[in-house]
C-alpha cells in the first residue's frame, strides 16, 4: 500500500512538474495562432524527453554519476566547457523567465505590479533551495502544479467542436494567416519547450540527491513513462483552450494574462482560482529546478561538492553559484524586460543546445564501465539515434528560422 502511494505520488509529481513557463507560454501562443496543428510536436517532444530522462536516470542510478559529470568526462574539457557555457546561459535565461512567471502569476492574483513581486519570488526560491528538503520541495510544487489540470477541465466545459479540433490535430496544416517558416519556427520552440535540457540535468541530479539505486529504477520509469505523457496532455489542453477561445477572437498570445482567459470563460472564478494556484506552483517549481540545475551543471563540471542533501556549508561553491544566478536573474528582470519574451527566446535556444546534452548521455548509457549490465537495449538505441537526428535538425534549423521569421512574428 505504501509502495503504491509512493508510485502515485511520483507520477502526480511528474505530471505537475512537467509544465513550466516555457510550456505554458509556447503552447498558448501556438494554440492562439496555429490551433492544434502543432500538437504532433508536443507528442514528439514528450516521447523524446521520456526516452532521455529515463536514460539519464538509469545512468545516475547505475553509476551514481549525474549528467554533467558524464558530459565533462566524455567530451573532454574543451567541448565540455563550450557545452557548459551554452547550457548554463540557457539555464540562466530559464531561471529568469520562471521567476518572472511567478511574479506575473502573482500579479494576476493580486493586481500588484509584477516588478514588485520579483524580489519576493527570488527570495522565496532561494529560501527553499537553502532550507527545504529535496523530496518535500519536489512533492509540494508538483502536487500544487497538478491544479493546472483545470485547463483540461475548462476545455471540456467550453464544449468545443471536437471533430474540428481532432481534424486540426490529425491533419496538420499551416493556417492561412501564417507562413510555413513561422510554423516550423514554432514547431522548434514547442520541441525545445518539451525537451528543455534542464529537465535532464535536474532529473539525473535529483536521482543522485535521492540516492537512487537500480532497485528504484522501476519507480523512476513509471514516473517518467506515465507522468510525462500526462504532463504533455496538459500542455495540449493549454493549446486547446487557446485554440478554442483566443484563435477565433483574433487574439495572439503575448502575455500571461491572455493565457488564463479561456479558463475563466470555461470554468469561471473557481477555474481561475485553480489556474492561478497552478501557475504559481508550476513556475515556482520550475524556478527551483532551474536554479538548482545551474548549480548542478557548474558543480558537476568543475567537480565541486554539490547537492541539497548536504548542509549548505558542505557544498559552499554550489550554493554560492545559485545565489549569484538568482541575483543575475533578478538584475535582468528589474530592467523591465518582458518575462514572456525571455521565455519565448529561452525555449528556442534550448532547442539549439539539445544535441550537446543528449549525445553524451546516449554514449555513456551504452558503456558497461558505467552501466554494468544495465546498458541500453537495441530498441532504445535505435530510437535514441532517430531522436538525435531530429534534435540535430531542429538545432541547425533554429537560428536561420529565427532570422527569417523575425523570431516568429
Amino acid at each position: 500500500m505504501k509502495r503504491l502511494l509512493g508510485v502515485a505520488l511520483g507520477v502526480l509529481t511528474a505530471i505537475g512538474g512537467f509544465v513550466d513557463i516555457g510550456d505554458l507560454v509556447t503552447n498558448a501562443v501556438v494554440g492562439s495562432r496555429f490551433g492544434l496543428s502543432l500538437v504532433w510536436v508536443v507528442g514528439v517532444g514528450v516521447l523524446g524527453i521520456c526516452l532521455f530522462a529515463n536514460m539519464s536516470g538509469r545512468v545516475a542510478a547505475a553509476s551514481g554519476r549525474a549528467t554533467f559529470e558524464v558530459i565533462r568526462e566524455r567530451l573532454g574539457p574543451r567541448a565540455g566547457l563550450a557545452n557548459l557555457s551554452a547550457s548554463f546561459l540557457i539555464n540562466l535565461m530559464t531561471v529568469t523567465a520562471e521567476i518572472g512567471g511567478v511574479a506575473l502569476a502573482l500579479q494576476l492574483a493580486s493586481s500588484v505590479h509584477y516588478l514588485l513581486w520579483i524580489p519576493v519570488a527570488a527570495l522565496a526560491v532561494w529560501l527553499v533551495v537553502w532550507r527545504v528538503k529535496f523530496s518535500i520541495m519536489e512533492n509540494v510544487t508538483g502536487l500544487l502544479g497538478l491544479t493546472l489540470i483545470v485547463f483540461a477541465v475548462a476545455l471540456f466545459l467550453l464544449k468545443p467542436d471536437w471533430g474540428n479540433l481532432a481534424g486540426q490535430a490529425l491533419a496538420p496544416a499551416v493556417p492561412a494567416e501564417e507562413t510555413a517558416p513561422t510554423y516550423w519556427y514554432y514547431a522548434i520552440a514547442l520541441f525545445g519547450a518539451a525537451m528543455t535540457p534542464y529537465e535532464v540535468f535536474f532529473f539525473s541530479s535529483g536521482a543522485v540527491e535521492e540516492g537512487w539505486s537500480i532497485k528504484d529504477l522501476v519507480q523512476s520509469r513509471i514516473n517518467v513513462l506515465v507522468g510525462f505523457p500526462l504532463g504533455g496532455l496538459l500542455s495540449v489542453a493549454i493549446a486547446g483552450c487557446a485554440a478554442v477561445v483566443l484563435l477565433p477572437a483574433g487574439i495572439a498570445v503575448t502575455s500571461l494574462s491572455q493565457v488564463i482567459l479561456p479558463v475563466a470563460e470555461g470554468a469561471g472564478k473557481v477555474g481561475l482560482a485553480f489556474v492561478l494556484v497552478g501557475l504559481v506552483a508550476a513556475t515556482f517549481g520550475a524556478a527551483l529546478e532551474t536554479t538548482l540545475s545551474s548549480g548542478y551543471t557548474l558543480a558537476q563540471f568543475f567537480g565541486w561538492s554539490w547537492g541539497k542533501f548536504r548542509r549548505p556549508a558542505q557544498a559552499a561553491r554550489f550554493h554560492l553559484a545559485m545565489i549569484i544566478c538568482l541575483f543575475i536573474g533578478l538584475a535582468v528582470l528589474v530592467t523591465g524586460v518582458d518575462p514572456v519574451l525571455v521565455t519565448e527566446y529561452s525555449v528556442v535556444f534550448s532547442a539549439i543546445a539539445l544535441p550537446l546534452t543528449y549525445l553524451p548521455i546516449l554514449i555513456v548509457a551504452n558503456d558497461p564501465q558505467y552501466m554494468g549490465q544495465h546498458v541500453n537495449g537495441r530498441p532504445v538505441n535505435v530510437l535514441a539515434m532517430v531522436y538525435l537526428v531530429i534534435i540535430l535538425a531542429a538545432s541547425l534549423a533554429a537560428i536561420p528560422l529565427m532570422i527569417v521569421t523575425g523570431a516568429g512574428s
Binding site: 500579479q107 477572437a249 491572455q258 470563460e265 527569417v404 523575425g406 512574428s409
Partner: protein, 162 residues
Amino acid sequence: MLRRTALTGPATHLPGRKRRRPHVWAACLTMASVLAGCSGTGSTISTAVEDSSSAIATARLALHLESSGKLTRAATSTALDDSLKELETSRKTVLELSPATEMERQAVQEALGVLDHCAASLTDARDAAASNDGGPTLPDGERELAAAADRLSALGTKDGGK
C-alpha cells in the same frame, strides 16, 4: 487622455519592425526588407494594426468575462494593462516611422488616429473596470472597445487592399 505626443526627436527608421522584438532583429529585418525592395511602412502599419486588434480583442474578452462574473478584478485589470502596453508598443512603432511619400504620410496619420482612438477606449475600459461608482460602466467600456475594434478592422481591410 492618452494623446500625449511622445518622442519629439527624429524617430529611428525601423522598416519591417513587427511585434515585440528586441532591436537586434531590427538590423536583420532592415536588411531583409532592403533585399525584398519594400519600404516597410505598409508592413509596419499592418503589423501594428494586427497587434492592436489582438490587444483590443483581449480587452473585450476580459471585460465580457468580468461583466458575466467569470473574472476577478485583479485578473481583469492585469489583462487590460497588458493590452494597453501592447497597444502602446504598436503605436510607437508607427510613430517611429519616417514616411517618404505623401501617400505614406497619410497612411501613417490615419493609422495613428485610429490607434489613438483605441488607446483612449482602452483607457476608458480600464477605468470602467476599476471604478465602482460614477465613472464609466462596464457596458460603456465594452461599447467603446467594440467601436475601436470596428475602426481597426476597417483600417486593416483598407491597409490590406493597398
